[in-house]
Symmetry: C3
Amino acid sequence: MSGLKKKLSPILLISTFILSAIAHYTHFGSIAEFILSAIAVIFVAGFLGKATESVAHYAGQRLGGFLNATFGNAAELIIAIFLIKEGLFDMVKASLTGSILGNLLLVLGISLFAGGLKHKVQNFNVTLAGMNGSLMIVAVIALFIPAVFLNTKSITSSETNTLSLVVAGILIVSYIAWLLFSMITHKDYLEDATYDSDEELPHEHTPAWGKKRSILYLFIATVMVALVSEWLVHTLESITAAFGLSELFVGAFVVAIVGNAAEHSAAVLLAMKNKIGAAVEIAIGSSLQIALFVAPVLIFVSFFMGTPMNIVFTVIELVAIVVSVFIAKSITQDGATNWYEGLLLIAVYLILGVSFYLA
Amino acid sequence: MSGLKKKLSPILLISTFILSAIAHYTHFGSIAEFILSAIAVIFVAGFLGKATESVAHYAGQRLGGFLNATFGNAAELIIAIFLIKEGLFDMVKASLTGSILGNLLLVLGISLFAGGLKHKVQNFNVTLAGMNGSLMIVAVIALFIPAVFLNTKSITSSETNTLSLVVAGILIVSYIAWLLFSMITHKDYLEDATYDSDEELPHEHTPAWGKKRSILYLFIATVMVALVSEWLVHTLESITAAFGLSELFVGAFVVAIVGNAAEHSAAVLLAMKNKIGAAVEIAIGSSLQIALFVAPVLIFVSFFMGTPMNIVFTVIELVAIVVSVFIAKSITQDGATNWYEGLLLIAVYLILGVSFYLA
Amino acid sequence: MSGLKKKLSPILLISTFILSAIAHYTHFGSIAEFILSAIAVIFVAGFLGKATESVAHYAGQRLGGFLNATFGNAAELIIAIFLIKEGLFDMVKASLTGSILGNLLLVLGISLFAGGLKHKVQNFNVTLAGMNGSLMIVAVIALFIPAVFLNTKSITSSETNTLSLVVAGILIVSYIAWLLFSMITHKDYLEDATYDSDEELPHEHTPAWGKKRSILYLFIATVMVALVSEWLVHTLESITAAFGLSELFVGAFVVAIVGNAAEHSAAVLLAMKNKIGAAVEIAIGSSLQIALFVAPVLIFVSFFMGTPMNIVFTVIELVAIVVSVFIAKSITQDGATNWYEGLLLIAVYLILGVSFYLA
């Protein structure tokens, strides 16, 4: 992987990006656009992974992971706003669901699996694991309760919207308080004990770029990933129509895999370098950000756009989110991971994927 | 708070109590009775908090917490028996639900939050936390199973009553065995390691009253809280009718907040004094006592009164109890707490409160 | 118990076994066959317990436990294949459910209770406890997801069978990977720290038989248990018809208790000898083997027999499995057990048993 990464010369990165852009804007046709954007996404995701790694070097594992998750989700937020403008609420919720599943099961699963094959047992801060678990449960409760009340009591559409806004507000406040807690009041408490393990690997201490350049590249890479992701998503509609797939499956799995390519490559790379704390921060942090920040912000944005979207997910989406949270919480709560735990996460992802595909 | 507490002179306590009593028995009118009893409840709750603290000093944190929870729930048991006599089974179940939610989310949440603002991280016996978690899950299962069987199989009313009595009997035996376990066979095993931390605070070693007087005051304070709570609950019916609130919301939130005022003030006070073990014992211990002892006893009492009440709660009540147990278990299971965990519990309480209000 | 066990002379074992065999094959009549096979099962189970203990001495606690669980489940697998041949899918699923409940609640419960009465606190490898918990959750998810999709989406019978085969395949791969992980790549990581505690009990170091003879006896004892179990199960049908019990109750409780007699006696015996790691391995390992291996294999076997059985359990069965997993996970996750935790497991088993009986 390390050897492969070095071959990702800037020339290949820029040329595949430009080719994919030309294909998209001059309408080469779905299949050509799909292939070109799929190739481009590999290179830009690789670039983003390298930039994240470099920023993480300067910022520390946790802040680096947080920055990565935020940059990764910025793209998703933008895409979702476009979908809301088109009134495609179901597609928005399916892609939010898929993003949570993709991060908690696929990204985390492959990270633990790949990291675990290289390193027998990988450890990260057990207190952070516990806090993440509690945050995941709060997120699940916030999505679950409105759906239960809507299905058992006769609530008007207007009351559902009010409830959605209140719950969204509570989640945003909780998320801001979490940043305050984890970045300021209890920063050291959650600090990864294995963070200083870099010291033992002196060659790791010379990242490719300087501090400012790393941040600039992180920003540029995120924009590139967002653009290429959108081009790829754009082609998927006609591609998947031809293959007769359901909107739910495409939204929850295809869009989510592509949309999380950035987090994915960064997390796996960090896990293999034994920086499992940063990998977990990206995977779980990203899914928490989706549930506690991106989804609630979309409720408010849709409200102010005059097309209020409620926070009520379908039963299948809720069940998928609940089981993902349970298994991810169970696996991460002891702060120690291994390849088999990664395999279990992937197994659950496959079970859900096949079920969504057949449904 | 400490300064405020000293101003709670016996004169104010007794005068507000007597004023509230006169208002209640001479029928001043709902609004006047409500205001006077609400003021009185603050003073008697403060008195109870002080008495509990003093008894806890002599008895140790855990036994003190247990005594407090028991005295606090005695009031609820008496109120519930009156409600059963009137055939108000739904109100009884709503107030039991609210009592569990109120203790696990609001009392525990504010305790962790207030305690956490003063003390960065607060620790209590991790083994006790684990046992509490298992007991909570057993309580949830006992309430959940009869409801599931009633909704999926055609069970007669008589079979439901039989099942209710059997489950209630199993819960009471489990609770008595828990007292045997926690107070006798494994007392030291669950002993709070931080209990002796008092030693470092010599001024804490001179409680206001002697041992016997403390116990007497604890008893008197509990009776006063029970009386004032009842007077307040009495006024709520007409007050809430005027505001158009649902019975479920009043039972589960208004009655529960007032009914748990005693546990509430005692737990928060202890948390701020860094006796988080006792605070957790009050909050979780009280909700366990409701689920494992008060509710089952009411099933038997109602049966012997000739008006059998079954143990089947509504779907909304069960879901609310299940999510409360999950988040409380997740937050307490590591035996370490902080302000953010308190905030998460309060957030879940607000989400449930708004949902019950709108439903 | 130790004194009693010594009285189980080979003569009694063989004579009760032969008597029961004669009763079965010459059709003494249900009641006589029931009584004779019930007596025989006690002696063969005792023999199996002794053989397991002896093999565990040579193989180590965990491998010994695994061998015992496998041998115990071989009998269940054979019985289930006969039931599938008769098209009795509901009875198969009920007995699989009962086997999981029986192991997680009754076998584990009585082991912890009996072991806890003799030894104040019993400890086993906490990492293994965590891995077991995650495996249990994956098993629950795999059984839960197909049922949810079947109940919320219109899936054809053929799609249900496809989904069943895919999920079964994923489970079998996960189980084989688990053996690879726990027996090879991370064997020492999961090794029970208390395993060497035998050293303090020198008289334990002289098991009744040599290594080869122990393995031979383990094999013979398993076959005897399988045969006697089948004879007993055979009589139950007519016995229970006379008592008016439901198929679900008989399948999930009566068949399961008898079918797990072997695991049961072995686990309790080991727990009382303070080898709680091996006892937990038998109880939890056996239920994992049922969910991750026996059930999926039956899906494939039924498919190749031309009478495909799907993996969709009833709501009541799923709820019973879910609650069993939750309480077992909560109780074992800290790697420390006591008598009260055993009592809680038994309480949940009783609640489920009464509910299944009345339903």
